[in-house]
């Protein structure tokens, strides 16, 4: 019952053709053009393209230090649970406007957001032009679930650990962040901008995570007033600030193509 390959023009082929129009033709391009012409000849009556996969990776922003108000913050640990991810053809992805996705990563991966590059896995896709995405940070509320559940081994959406320094004073923090979908059947993040003119087997998608930006809303002064070691948990103002930032400053999507 394997999927069968089928000759014919796919949406991805059209996308690739557009790209090549902008480049200088070379011997390899000529060969590809002939191949494309042959495909076009066969394309009369094509039924479209077959599904395919391509790699998905996370790109971190580094540990710092970086400023947050008067504080210089350095992250020593930044684990982020990410997934599932759905790529959508509509400009603003939502469950209603993305009942059929163009691509998906139906797992939850815990990535080190401090690493320059961390391979996440394979993204399954079909030909088309992704324009937006929707995703969860490891906590999902599917239609069949009575309440949201954390799917990642992390048990939370993110764990951010680090220190904040100001005028010789050092504050250490350990934040366990939960970003919970607000509605049953809806991912936590919808309408995330994610655009590529095409995608195919040669594509690669990198999610740029910036945990430093998620800490910008944290009031370290208020934290320092109550002690120098802090565990930030759901219900804390600092948790709300981080969770809010994780939704307003989602990962950025960047495609590369062979």
């Amino acid at each position: 019952m394997r999927e069968r390959s089928q000759p014919g023009l796919r949406d991805s082929d059209r996308g690739r053709f557009k790209l090549r129009e902008r480049s200088q033709p070379g011997p390899r391009d000529s060969k590809r053009r002939c191949l494309l012409a042959a495909v076009l000849l066969l394309a009369c009556g094509s039924s479209g393209g077959e599904p395919f996969s391509y790699p998905l990776a996370a790109v971190g922003a580094g540990a710092g230090p970086f400023p947050v108000g008067d504080w210089q913050v350095t992250l020593t640990r930044a684990e982020v649970a990410i997934g599932p991810i759905y790529l959508c053809a509509t400009a603003a992805a939502s469950p209603d406007l993305c009942d059929v996705a163009l691509g998906e990563f139906t797992e939850v991966a815990v990535v080190d957001a401090l690493a320059p590059v961390a391979e996440i896995g394979e993204l399954h896709a079909r030909p088309g032009e992704p324009r937006s995405a929707m995703l969860d940070y490891g906590i999902s509320w599917f239609t069949t679930q009575s309440r949201p559940e954390a799917l990642a081994t992390l048990g939370h959406s993110a764990r951010l650990t680090g220190t904040a320094v100001r005028d010789g004073a050092s504050l250490s923090f350990d934040a366990l962040v939960d970003v919970v979908p607000p509605l049953r059947g809806s991912p936590a993040l919808v309408g995330v901008r994610a655009h590529s003119e095409f995608q195919d087997e040669g594509s690669r998608l990198e999610l740029r995570l910036d945990p430093r930006a998620w800490l910008t809303g944290v009031d370290f002064d208020a934290l320092a007033a109550s002690g120098l070691v802090h565990s930030i948990n759901p219900g804390d103002p600092a948790h709300a600030a981080i969770a809010f930032a994780m939704t307003t400053q989602p990962p950025s999507f960047r495609w590369t193509h062979d």
């Binding site: 999927e3 089928q6 479209g48 400009a91 009942d99 059929v100 998906e104 939850v108 599917f142 049953r184």
Partner: protein
């Protein structure tokens, strides 16, 4: 040219004339003798084992007793033992009103000629027929007629001394889907005016030998009345791809339902992915006709397709047709006949009902998966083939989880004749069925072992899937033939058809429209469609007008009407309690279709025939859409739900077919026509001119029937169809939705032959290139739709191959009866079917086979379906679903399938007496 009279014959003729004169004188003195009148007539079956390439004529002398029964039968003119036996077997089932003399019944001897045309005969030349009667084209090879006697009112028949039956014109088609004239047309023309000589026998001595001219009388024998038989005759083909499947093809391979029999037609594939209580899914020559949206189905001319059916436009449930009573099937591929009405987009299919083997028949079938079927059938001897009563029950545990089924069917037909050329038939049918459904499975779930191939999902929403159907149907058809060859038809029909299904295709994706916060309660779609409707057909075909020797014309004018009241609802249910959690459809529809047509047939000499005309249908809808203008809950304070509207429109178009016969064994056809499919009423707006789906159909082809020793017929045709609006299955709603215009072009080749008397071979190959020309454009909501322009039409297999083999042979003589063997096989091949979202199915090939032994009144058989034990998909889809089989649901379209039955073996015991 009659042989010259020898002296001896002259003497005998003189004696006969003298005897006739004497008889005439005595008759003048005695009360006049009224000839017997046949009231029921059974056609003779063509003895295929003795098939001949030339017409065979048998003349019988039959004694009609005072009770109207058939007494002594002798062969006056033989065509060989097989043909003689076939004629005798048929005539022994005839019944008459006895001859009378002075009002008292008397026994009489009559002459009955039977003519067996060659199985593959060319049209009869028009010249020798009476001036007002056109030539009667002998049925083509694909017709069932070769096994039937054709009208013997042939001028070549010796005219007996007694009555000369009124010749009967070829039975014009009263419906394009009714290839066979009604019982009345096969009834002999009563010889009411038949004068003497009748050889009366004293009424008190019916067993007394009847005076006759001798044991081997010759034409003109005294005391003999000739009574003509008028065999069934299909209407002339409208195109090369106008096939009539006779019993020799229909019964070659095993079949479990009448729908299965359709696979014998070129380009047709039939599956049953939704169980025993839902209509078959049918593909015809590049059309995924689903449950009937593109094919006009009729039974004896009465329409079966349901207007605006919720499950699928044109829904046609054929399950009430018992396969044992199907005498022939006409499959007209294309729209070239003005008789073809609504839903004749890919073509039309008509079932002709009749039972050749008279008497009682009991058939018990049992085998794999707890399947048991009991059939009881009664075909009264001495009555027309079209008179029968049959009933069957069937139960099965099914070949996997949640597939059990139980059904019952009763079907009866009574054919009768009246005075003055009036004839008719009355049909009644009732059917009820309920079946579980396993539904569809995701391929990836089966491959990962999360669910078995023949299982269902272990989910309440999957376990609650089922369907039920009920039907009651009544039909009456009256025909009248005038002495000038005209034919008038009136037919009326009424039916109550109920459909109820619960199906879940997508698992847990739906959100309630009524209460948008409700989600994840299961996508168990409940559909109910209750249709009460009726209608009539009325037509008159003139006799032939022959202003010149080389030209003849006939015209038929007709009308048909249907009016249906449809109540339909669609909801979402939450299993297992089946609690309603959303309303999707709640409507009442009154649909009316009034059609008019004219059909002209012109014959230019022996070689050219032009048939055609036009048809126009006025369709009117009154829709009470209880959920129309549905509004969000926050608007309830200012709005009310509900939208009532009406729409009316006209669908009209020409149909024309040209047939040229340059050689006796070669026919060429060119045909063009416009057909239509009525719209889904709920999709109409107020005052809309009913946007009919229009189809343009064109075909050119040849039919070759070489006059070889063994019958061979080869058909080849190229065709094209252009459809204004196609439909495809939408699993989210569980029904058909618009996908835009489509174009099909292809070729079909079919061969039918009998290389040896004991072997019947029928095979066909159909290729189609079917594409979507302008699917619904991308929108903001759906910028990447499932269909793109130029893509292959989803679900349609480009290549369909069918092969049927039938072996019938007497093995050995055991006592008074031979031990007869029958073997049959049917092979199907379907190439990979394109699916939405660029996917495709696997190719499919299936083999069915059967074997049986019959001796006298008992027959033992075995049938095997899917003999190659293929694990195959009866139906394949591509869509998004969430059955909870993975931690995270996928939103990518995935291949789904409904499993086809595995290897099934059934044993059959048939008792006939």
């Amino acid at each position: 040219m009659p042989p010259a009279l020898t002296p001896a014959r002259r003497v005998r003729c003189g004696a006969a004339l003298l005897l006739a004169a004497l008889t005439a004188r005595s008759a003048a003195a005695a009360p006049a003798v009224q000839a017997p009148r046949p009231v029921q007539q059974v056609e003779a079956a063509y003895p295929l084992a003795a098939a001949s390439s030339s017409p065979q004529r048998v003349e019988l002398l039959v004694t009609v007793g005072v009770d109207g029964g058939v007494g002594e039968v002798t062969v006056a003119s033989s065509a060989g033992p097989a043909f003689d036996a076939a004629a005798i077997a048929a005539v022994r089932q005839w019944r008459f009103t006895p001859a009378t003399q002075g009002g008292a019944p008397v026994a009489a001897r009559i002459r009955v000629p039977f003519v067996f045309p060659p199985p593959l005969a060319e049209p009869a030349p028009p010249a020798p027929v009476p001036s007002d009667i056109p030539a009667s084209p002998v049925p083509a090879a694909s017709s069932p007629a070769p096994t039937r006697p054709v009208p013997s009112a042939s001028p070549s028949a010796p005219v007996p001394a007694a009555s000369s039956p009124a010749p009967v014109a070829p039975a014009p088609s009263d419906s394009p889907t009714q290839p066979v004239p009604s019982a009345s047309t096969s009834a002999p023309v009563p010889t009411a005016s038949a004068p003497a000589p009748v050889a009366p026998v004293p009424s008190d001595s019916s067993t007394q030998p009847v005076p006759s001219a001798g044991s081997a009388p010759s034409p003109g024998d005294e005391g003999v009345i000739e009574v003509s038989t008028h065999g069934r005759r299909p209407p002339p083909p409208r195109a090369a791809s106008d096939f009539v499947l006779g019993p020799e093809v229909l019964n070659a391979a095993p079949k479990q339902s009448s729908g299965d029999m359709l696979t014998r037609a070129p380009g047709v594939y039939v599956s049953r992915p939704e169980g025993d209580a839902v209509a078959h899914e049918i593909y015809l020559r590049g059309f995924n006709a689903a449950h009937g949206q593109d094919i006009e189905f009729t039974v004896g001319g009465a329409p079966i397709n349901q207007i605006s059916h919720l499950h699928g436009q044109g829904y046609a449930d054929l399950n009430f047709i018992l396969p044992e009573v199907v005498r022939s099937i006409r499959v007209t591929e294309g729209v070239y006949d003005p008789h073809q009405g609504d839903f004749a987009v890919a073509g039309s299919i008509d079932f002709d009902l009749g039972v050749a083997q008279r008497g009682f028949l009991l058939r018990s079938t049992g085998g794999s998966f707890g399947t048991f079927r009991q059939l009881a059938m009664w075909a009264p001897r001495g009555q027309s083939e079209e008179t029968f009563a049959a009933a069957a029950i069937r139960r099965s545990s099914g070949f996997g989880m949640n597939r059990g089924a139980l059904s019952g069917t009763g079907l009866g037909q009574f054919a009768f004749t009246g005075p003055g050329g009036l004839a008719g038939k009355l049909m009644v049918a009732a059917h009820a069925a309920r079946a579980g459904m396993a539904g569809v499975l995701r391929n990836d779930d089966v491959e990962a072992g999360r669910v078995g191939f023949y299982d269902r999902y272990p989910d309440p929403g999957a376990g609650a899937q089922s369907a039920s159907a009920a039907r009651g149907q009544l039909g009456l058809e009256l025909t009248h033939r005038s002495e000038t060859g005209g034919r008038t038809l009136f037919a009326a029909h009424a039916a109550l058809v109920d459909f109820h299904s619960r199906e879940n295709f997508t698992g847990y994706l739906q959100r309630s429209m009524v209460m948008p916060a409700w989600v994840g309660r299961g996508d168990l779609i409940e559909q109910q469609n209750r249709d009460l409707g009726g209608g009539f057909r009325l037509s008159h075909r003139t006799g032939w007008w022959r202003p010149a020797r080389w030209f003849a014309a006939t015209l038929e004018l007709g009308s048909s009407a249907r009016i249906h009241r449809v109540r339909q609802a669609q909801n979402l249910l939450q299993a297992p309690s089946n609690e309603t959690w959303d309303h999707r459809v709640d409507a009442e529809i009154l649909a009316t279709d009034v059609g008019l047509f004219a059909d002209l047939e012109l014959r230019f000499g022996k070689y050219v025939q032009l048939r055609g005309g036009a048809r126009a249908d006025v369709l009117h809808y009154d829709i009470d859409d209880h959920l129309g203008n549905f509004i969000a809950p926050y608007q309830v304070a200012s709005h009310l739900v509900g939208y009532r509207r009406t729409a009316t429109g006209v669908a009209a178009g020409p149909r024309v077919a040209l047939e040229v016969t340059p050689l006796p064994w070669l026919k060429t056809f060119v045909a063009y026509g416009q057909g239509y499919r009525s719209p889904q009423a709920r999709q109409l707006e107020e005052g809309e001119r009913a946007p009919f789906t229009k189809v343009h159909s064109v075909e050119g082809g040849v039919r070759l029937a070489p006059r070889w020793r063994r019958p061979v017929e080869l058909t080849a045709a190229g065709y094209g169809t252009f459809l204004a609006q196609d439909l495809a299955f939408d699993p989210e709603e569980g029904r058909l939705e618009k996908i835009g215009p489509t174009r099909r072009s292809g070729v079909v080749a079919a061969l039918q032959t009998r290389p040896w008397p004991w072997l019947q071979v029928s095979t066909s190959v159909t290729y189609v290139h079917a594409i979507l020309t302008a699917p619904p454009p991308a929108t903001v909501e759906d910028p990447n739709p499932a269909y793109v322009a130029g893509q292959l039409l989803p679900y349609v297999p480009p290549v369909v191959v069918r092969l049927d083999l039938g072996v019938s042979k007497d093995l050995v003589q055991l006592g008074a009866h031979p031990l007869a063997m029958r073997l049959g096989g049917g092979f199907n091949y379907l190439s990979a079917r394109p699916l939405p979202y660029g996917q495709s199915s696997d190719p499919l090939y299936l083999l069915d086979a059967s074997a049986s032994l019959r001796w006298s009144w008992i027959e033992l058989g075995v049938e095997a379906y899917n003999l190659l034990a293929r694990r195959y998909a009866a139906s394949v889809y591509s869509f998004v679903s969430d059955w909870g089989t993975t931690p995270v649901p996928s939103r990518l379209p995935a291949r789904h399938f409904a499993a086809g039955p595995p290897l099934s073996v059934l044993g059959t015991l048939t008792l006939s007496f």
